[in-house]
């Protein structure tokens, strides 16, 4: 491997990515958009949802319960409907997430000391939110029951006290989760697309033959295509890292040095995948769609959207081969958990293994193309 030739290669690759002003803009703009727009969307909390109330009772206690529900963070607009049909229509047309229906004798039964039912209809199409909303409504009803018991001169029913404490992120700020994760996801996508395009572009434009007749060895060509992606991916990752620390003030408690080491190994493992895609693609279009077809499953299996434990065993096993899954443990841990160095290194082992496999495979793939 000749150092000078390698440097020339790297320069050429970086230039071919950064030469076009629109390409530059696309490398910088979308991550910022991601940071300022999409980072706020990823929450599974349920707040401000619309509810419907069908109050055939119109008495004191139905009113009391509705007031208590209105007072919570969960409730947004409350739509008052007059009939069961109107209630069904509001749920059918997705105007409300949940609806409460009181029978005409609701308050009378409570006054008489009889059990009174409140019917709660929830939209199963939004099953996750519906379940969380039901949890809120049930705890409001439980409080009302406790108050009713006191009112009747009884003691409130004895309960056990449950203290919940969230470590590392006491208020469960979602941004503390999404922004660190974006360090991994963004650098992965940019590295993947840059490498996937590298060889495919040369083939589409016909410059691949020139590369073949140049004195560069296959290893040099591959290194020349890897390093720019690692550089650009690391820079993008650093931007997100800085934004997380300085802009969103997310506590960073781990080791920056170890995180960077992990980031570089992680990007290398992705670069191997990108090069394989590139070597089997005949056009840039195929390369981009190939990169995408690899990137989306990598994100889905990483546990970013939903936890890996919820997946069927086969996919859980597959997730172990996803470098992003392991990198997310390191980056999230480095931000919030002061992840001890031995745990970082332990988590780095699978990423190293994956990188070794993908890069070796890429070497074979590309060499096959070159010869």
């Amino acid at each position: 491997m000749r150092f000078q030739r390698l440097v020339a290669q790297i320069r050429k690759e970086i230039l071919s990515v950064l030469r076009d002003p629109r390409t530059r803009a696309v490398l910088i703009g979308p991550p910022l958009l991601q940071l300022f727009v999409f980072a706020f969307a990823a929450t599974l909390e349920v707040e401000n949802v619309s509810l419907a109330v069908l109050d055939l009772d119109g008495g004191k206690w139905s009113h009391e319960l509705v007031q208590r529900v209105r007072a919570t963070r969960m409730a947004g607009d409350v739509l008052v409907v007059e009939s069961h049909d109107a209630l069904a229509e509001a749920v059918d047309a997705r105007r409300v997430l949940a609806a409460m229906a009181f029978q005409p004798d609701f308050s009378r039964r409570i006054e008489a000391g009889l059990p009174a039912d409140v019917q709660i209809v929830l939209d199963g199409r939004r099953g996750n939110s519906a379940q969380i909303a039901l949890g809120y409504l049930q705890s409001i009803v439980a409080e009302l029951n406790a108050d009713l018991a006191v009112l009747r001169g009884g003691r409130p029913p004895r309960t056990i006290a449950i203290d919940v404490r969230h470590w590392f992120n006491p208020n469960l700020e979602y941004l503390w989760f999404t922004v660190p994760s974006l360090v991994g996801i963004l650098s992965m996508f940019s590295a993947l697309i840059i490498t996937a395009l590298s060889i495919a572009r040369e083939r589409e434009l016909g410059t691949f033959e020139q590369l073949l007749v140049s004195p560069a060895s296959p290893l040099e060509i591959i290194a020349g295509k890897c390093i720019p992606a690692v550089v650009i991916g690391t820079v993008l990752g650093s931007v997100m890292l800085a934004a997380g620390i300085f802009l969103y003030r997310i506590p960073f408690t781990g080791s920056v040095l170890l995180l960077y080491a992990a980031l570089v190994v992680f990007i290398l493992s992705v670069v191997g995948v990108g090069l394989m895609i590139s070597s089997i693609s005949r056009t840039q279009q195929q390369a981009i769609l190939g990169a995408f077809s690899a990137g989306v499953p990598l994100v889905l299996l990483s546990g970013f959207a939903t936890p890996v434990e919820n997946m069927p065993p086969v996919l859980q096993a597959l997730a172990q081969a996803d470098p992003l899954k392991h990198f997310l443990v390191i980056v999230q841990g480095s931000f919030l958990k002061a992840l001890p160095p031995d745990v970082v290194l332990e988590t780095l082992v699978p990423i190293l293994l994956i990188a070794a496999v993908t890069l070796t495979a890429a070497l074979f793939f590309v060499r096959g193309r070159l010869e």
Partner: protein, 379 residues
Amino acid sequence: MTSRRRFNAARLLAIVRKESFQIVRDPSNLLIAFVLPVVLLFLFAFAVSLDIDEVAVGVVVENQGAASAELGAAFAATRYFDTRFARDRRELEPLVVAGELRGLVVIPQDFDAALERGTPARLQVLTDGAAPNTAGFVANYARGVAEAWWSSQRAEAGVDEERGPSVRVEPRFWYNPELSSRAFIVPGAIAIVMTMIGTMLTALVVAREWERGTMEAIIASPIGIGEFLVGKLAPYFVLGLGATLACALTAEHVLGVPMRGSVFALLALGSAFLVPALGLGLLISAATKNQFVASQLALFSGFLPALLLSGFLFEIESMPLPLQWLTHVVAARYFVESLQTLFLTGDVWSEFARSIAALVAIGGVLFALAARNTRKRLE
């Protein structure tokens, strides 16, 4: 030049033919249109699940009492948690840091004693807040398990809660009584997959014409802008509808999601959605001329909003207000909602009509912008 403005069936047919050949000739296109959607659909169906099941949680039982042991057993018995027991919390804390456990339930030293004294017995739930969604689930389910155990204890002890609770909650989940998350995620995923085909593929195809210079050849031909756009997109429209049908069939027959609406409504919604999806792809390719830039823009203006801002995974009403406004121009939002209704509820035309109107309106604006952009370059 007047003929350039008119529609000419022969010219239109010619460009449709050319485009269709181009699609069929490159097998990777068909792969993308039919194999990839189904693969993605499977991934979404199995990898994206909000059903909490077997979450790894540690249970620390600090005393030897009978009640503590029983409560611990209640945690071991539930299918929500995969429990790991210890006597000392220091044993399990490092596992939470390493992400191997999602939380700890601590039954403290004085738990049994407090129960006997009749003072409130305390139970501690510690979660891994670094993964906030899971932390929330762990807290809620742990509370549920403990409360269920407590009320069964009281029932056994014969402590009748003064005639029982006054208000009873009777919950009913419509359309999806078992609350399987697959039932609403799969219909939503169809919208995501369609965004990918409609927007990404179109953006790349037209950008390639510019990049390769074949656009000049088209400019030199007598074709008008309208003919060009319609002819260019018609094959992709057909491809998109085909993929919608393929996805819906997979969802119903392989993934077991009930399909309660009509095929006609599916095709109507699919066609309406393809208007903005193709329009966005066209606008992107007209505004850039480069496949790399086009792919990135398609990713950030089509795919990610469809994934994050459509209500597919995250509740729109819980987002910050400016983001909620933004979702009104995300075409996938209307498609996701209507597909979920179509599959789980049936044909609700009052909702579909609203969605179709919104989709066509968004699509109209995108096409107008794309046509303006393309014309500028053509003339």
